[in-house]
Amino acid sequence: MRETGLIAIILALFIVMSFASPYFLTWVNMRAMVMAFAVEGIVVVGMTILLISGGIDLSVGSVTALAMVIAGWLFLNGVDPWVASAISIAACTGIGAFMGFFVTRVGLHHFIVSLAVMVIARGACLLGTGGRPLGLYTLPPEFKFIGQGSIGPIPVVILLFLFIVIGFDFMLRRTTMFRKVFYTGSNEKAAAYSGIQTKKVVFFTTTLCSALCGVAGIIYMARFGSAQPTFGIGMELNVIAAAVIGGASLKGGSGTIFGAILGAVLLSVVSSSLALLDVSVYWQDIIRGSILLAAVSIDHYLVKKRG
C-alpha cells in the first residue's frame, strides 16, 4: 500500500509523543486533535479528487467562509437554518460550476480561475457581513447538534467526517464514475480518445470540491455558532499539502483519499504536539516545517525503496 510509510511515520510520532507528554494519549486530547482537522478534512476530500483530475483550487478557504456567511445571513433574516444551509451549499456548488465553466469552456487554468474566485468570494464575505462576524447563537439546538452534539462519546462532526471520507474513498476506488477522474487526470487526451467527456469530468470535480467546501462551512457554522468573514485564510495551502503528503500528484492522475487524510492527520498531530509540549512559539514554525520536510522525505524514500 502506498500509505504504509505515512502510517509508520504517524505511529512513530504517536509513540514519541506519548512518552514526551502524559497528556498526549488522553481521550480529551485525541478528541481535540481530531476535531481540529475533521471539518477541514471534508475539504481535503474535495481537493484530493480535484487534484486527481488534474485541477487545483485556491478558493477553498474563501468559499468555506462564504458558505457560513450565506447561511448565517439567511438565518438572521428569518430563513429556517436547514433551508438556509441547503441554499448556501447550492450557492457554493454554483461557485464551483462557475469555476468549472471558466476552466472547461473558456480554457483558463484552474490556478488563476480559483485565485480570482478566492478574492471574489472573500469580498462577498465582507460585503455580506460588513466585515463583522455574524453571531448565530440563536441557532436552534437541533441544528447546533450537527456541530456540537455527540452520539455516545463520539462527536457528530467526527461521524460526519468519517461518513464523507469513507464514502468518497470507496467511490474513488471502486466506481466507474470516479475512475474516469483518474483517467482524465492521468492523460486527458487518452481519456478523450476513449470517449470520456473529460471536460464534464473536470467540471464535475471542480464543482464537487466547492460543494464540499459548502458542507464544511455549514458544519463549521453549527460548530462555532457564528459566521466569520475572515475564516479560512490560508486554508488552501494546508489542504493541498495534506493531499500531496498523502501521495496525490499535482500533475493529476494519482492520489487517494485515505492518504490525503493521513496527510491531514500528520499535519494536525504535529501542530497539536508542539502546542501540548509548550514549545516556544518562536520555535514552533521551524520545528513544524522541519518535521513536514523530514516526514515527506522519509515517506518518499520508503515508497521508492519498495519500488
Binding site: 481535540a32 462555532f224 475572515t230 516556544s280 514552533q284
Partner: protein
C-alpha cells in the same frame, strides 16, 4: 495561605497568531503579576490565524488542568462552549482584547477602542480644524481595528459634520498595500489633511507614501512599531495611540488569579445558591498611552525586552 499560589499552580495565557509582537508586553505584565504571587505561567495558543487550531490548543491547555487561563478568543461564539466546559472542570477563564460575552468567563480586560477613536478624532480636529478632509486605512474583518475606524468615522459625522471622509482603503496590515493605497488617496485628494490608521504595519507604508509625495498630511495611528516610533521622533507621524498592553496582562492575571482564589471573598449576593464565581468583573479598561515626540523613548519594545525572557 491567603492570596498565594500553591507550588505548581499554573496560569496560561492563550492567544491566536502567537508570534505577533502585540502579545509580548501583555505576557510580560501577566508574568510579572504572577511572579508577585508565586505562580507559574505558560504562553500558549496557535501561531496560525485559525479558529479550529486555537480551540484545539485551548482544549489541550485544559488537559493540564491549569488554575486559570487568560484567553484572547479569536471569535466570541465558538468559544462559549469550550469556556463553559473549562470552568465546569475547575479552570477559571478571563478574556482579554476580545470577548466571549455569552460564556461564563468571569472578567474581560480590554482597550476601549471607542475611547481611542474619540481621542484620535478630537486630536485631528484640534490640529487641522473642524472642516477638512481626512482618510482612513482599515483592516476589515479584524474587530478591534474595525472598531477604531468605524467609531472614528461616526464620531466625526456626529460631532464635526464639516470633516469630510475622502478615502477609505483596506490594507490589511500590509505596508506595501498601504503604500499603494495612500499614494492613490494622496493623488485623488490634494487637500487631504489627516490620515487615521488603526494599526502600525499599514502606518509604515503610509508614511513612506506621504514622504515621497511631500504632502503635508497629519498621520495618526494606533499601536506602535520601532519604525513608526522613529517616524514619530522625526515628526513624520504626529502621534500614536498605544493600548496599555502591560496593564492588560497585569490586570488579566489579577482577574484570573482572583477568580481562582475566590474563596477569600464572600460578597453580599446570591453566588452560593446560583453557583457562579463571586469575583465577576464585567469590564476592565486597560487604558492607552499617547505616544509623541516627547515620550517616544519609553516605547521602544526592543529596549524594554532587553534582558527579559519573552516566554
Amino acid at each position: 495561605e491567603g492570596l498565594k499560589c500553591e507550588p505548581g499552580e499554573t496560569y496560561i495565557m492563550n492567544v491566536m497568531v502567537s508570534g505577533h509582537p502585540y502579545w509580548v508586553p501583555v505576557y510580560q505584565g501577566f508574568k510579572q503579576a504572577a511572579e508577585a504571587f508565586g505562580c507559574e505561567t505558560v504562553f500558549s495558543g496557535t501561531p496560525d490565524y485559525d479558529i479550529s487550531k486555537q480551540i484545539a490548543s485551548f482544549e489541550q491547555d485544559m488537559v493540564k488542568q491549569p488554575a486559570g487561563v487568560l484567553l484572547h478568543p479569536m471569535q466570541s461564539d465558538p468559544f462559549i462552549e469550550p469556556i463553559n466546559r473549562a470552568i465546569e472542570s475547575g479552570t477559571q477563564i478571563v478574556t482579554f482584547a476580545a470577548d466571549s460575552p455569552k460564556s461564563n468567563r468571569t472578567a474581560y480586560i480590554t482597550s476601549d477602542n471607542l475611547a481611542e477613536a474619540k481621542f484620535a478624532a478630537e486630536e485631528i480636529v484640534k490640529q487641522i480644524g473642524e472642516s477638512g478632509e481626512y482618510a482612513v486605512l482599515e483592516n476589515p474583518g479584524q474587530s478591534n481595528h474595525d472598531l477604531r475606524v468605524t467609531s472614528l468615522i461616526s464620531y466625526m459625522e456626529d460631532n464635526y459634520p464639516d470633516m469630510k471622509l475622502v478615502g477609505r482603503q483596506a490594507t490589511n496590515q500590509d505596508s506595501n498595500a498601504a503604500y499603494r493605497a495612500t499614494a492613490s488617496i494622496l493623488q485623488a485628494n490634494p487637500n487631504l489633511g489627516a490620515l487615521w490608521i488603526p494599526e502600525a504595519g499599514s502606518a509604515e507604508g503610509a508614511v513612506a507614501a506621504v514622504l515621497e509625495a511631500e504632502a503635508d498630511v497629519l498621520i495618526m495611528h494606533a499601536d506602535i512599531t520601532p519604525t513608526t516610533l522613529e517616524h514619530i521622533k522625526a515628526g513624520n507621524i504626529h502621534m500614536a495611540l498605544n493600548p496599555n498592553q502591560g496593564m492588560q496582562g497585569f490586570m488579566g492575571f489579577m482577574a484570573t488569579f482572583l477568580a481562582a482564589h475566590s474563596d477569600v471573598f464572600d460578597p453580599f449576593n446570591d453566588y452560593k445558591v446560583s453557583g457562579y464565581n463571586p469575583v465577576q468583573i464585567p469590564y476592565v479598561d486597560n487604558g492607552f498611552a499617547v505616544i509623541t515626540k516627547e515620550n517616544a523613548d519609553s516605547f521602544d519594545l526592543n529596549a524594554y525586552m532587553e534582558g527579559r525572557d519573552p516566554s
